[in-house]
Symmetry: C2
Subunit: 141 residues, 2 copies
Amino acid sequence: FENKDVLQTNIMDYIIPGEKVAFVQRGNSLEHALLVLTKSGYTAIPVLDTKYRLEGLISIPMITEALLGLERVEFERLEELTVEQVMAVDKPRLTIHDHFRKALGLLINHPFLCVTDEEGHFEGILTRRVILKQLNYYVDG
Amino acid sequence: FENKDVLQTNIMDYIIPGEKVAFVQRGNSLEHALLVLTKSGYTAIPVLDTKYRLEGLISIPMITEALLGLERVEFERLEELTVEQVMAVDKPRLTIHDHFRKALGLLINHPFLCVTDEEGHFEGILTRRVILKQLNYYVDG
Ligand SMILES: Nc1ncnc2c1ncn2[C@@H]1O[C@@H]2COP(=O)(O)O[C@H]3[C@@H](O)[C@H](n4cnc5c(N)ncnc54)O[C@@H]3COP(=O)(O)O[C@H]2[C@H]1O
Ligand SMILES: Nc1ncnc2c1ncn2[C@@H]1O[C@@H]2COP(=O)(O)O[C@H]3[C@@H](O)[C@H](n4cnc5c(N)ncnc54)O[C@@H]3COP(=O)(O)O[C@H]2[C@H]1O
């Protein structure tokens, strides 16, 4: 096992490409977003603009927390709110030139990272699953 | 970096102990479960019995998928269903004697693993975050 080698791996061979990534847009209602999340089976997905640039990400907890009333989650309010009112815009991202070393450090605290080109166009995502699989292969043969 | 060393690490120093883990019981309504999930901020948590033995786990996607109608997620049905009707009982688990080698292989496909003693009593959970942190330390110093 040569640790220097695995950390210098470029991320691009391991990302889930953009066309396979479920996403929503900032203007969508939370009802639409929750339907996309439910049908895709994922708990968090990227938010893209109409030109496929990355804007942020939205998760089911962000939605349910926004609807949390005094006694229950008020799902009847799903139609009233939009993605842009609850999405996160401050998550760290990777670019197409980054390597596993940077990805691994960030994946400690984030289940996936969005990858963009230099213009901010969305390229895909790098997930914890993919890096764990590679580390498992390198460390355990 | 000595890969043999890190994989032989016993998991017990790294688990989130049971008393810090959010959980629900099989007889709870999905409404109660979704409230616990929302307040804890987690997307999936263990299901324990009244003697704190591990029964399975429940996630937000399992709940929303159970409520998915033809056109929308039917949240009004949350009170009608219980945790035991949607929870997963077949997820792999670890015991207090296991090491990182086994945990790493399983965490490729599972965000966290429940840990039990030999009698099936819940001890805590081992998360992807914890193992990524350890691997990052060993591989990158
Ligand atoms: N349909 C499916 N088939 C097989 N396994 C599934 C699955 N859905 C979820 N999982 C498993 O559950 C983990 C957590 O999924 P979650 O949706 O919370 O968290 C996901 C989700 O937020 C996002 N993600 C992954 N693939 C995506 C995609 N194609 N489109 C949008 N977001 C995606 O990246 C996070 C981490 O993904 P990761 O693969 O590391 O980890 C996944 C994977 O191990
Ligand atoms: N309150 C918080 N503070 C800081 N970071 C937070 C957080 N809530 C979530 N995260 C971050 O988001 C990741 C995914 O959380 P999720 O709830 O989907 O997935 C979680 C959740 O299903 C479960 N889990 C973690 N801690 C738990 C706890 N104390 N009780 C019950 N379940 C827990 O294990 C999964 C993986 O956890 P992991 O730590 O690897 O990964 C966590 C962590 O990196």
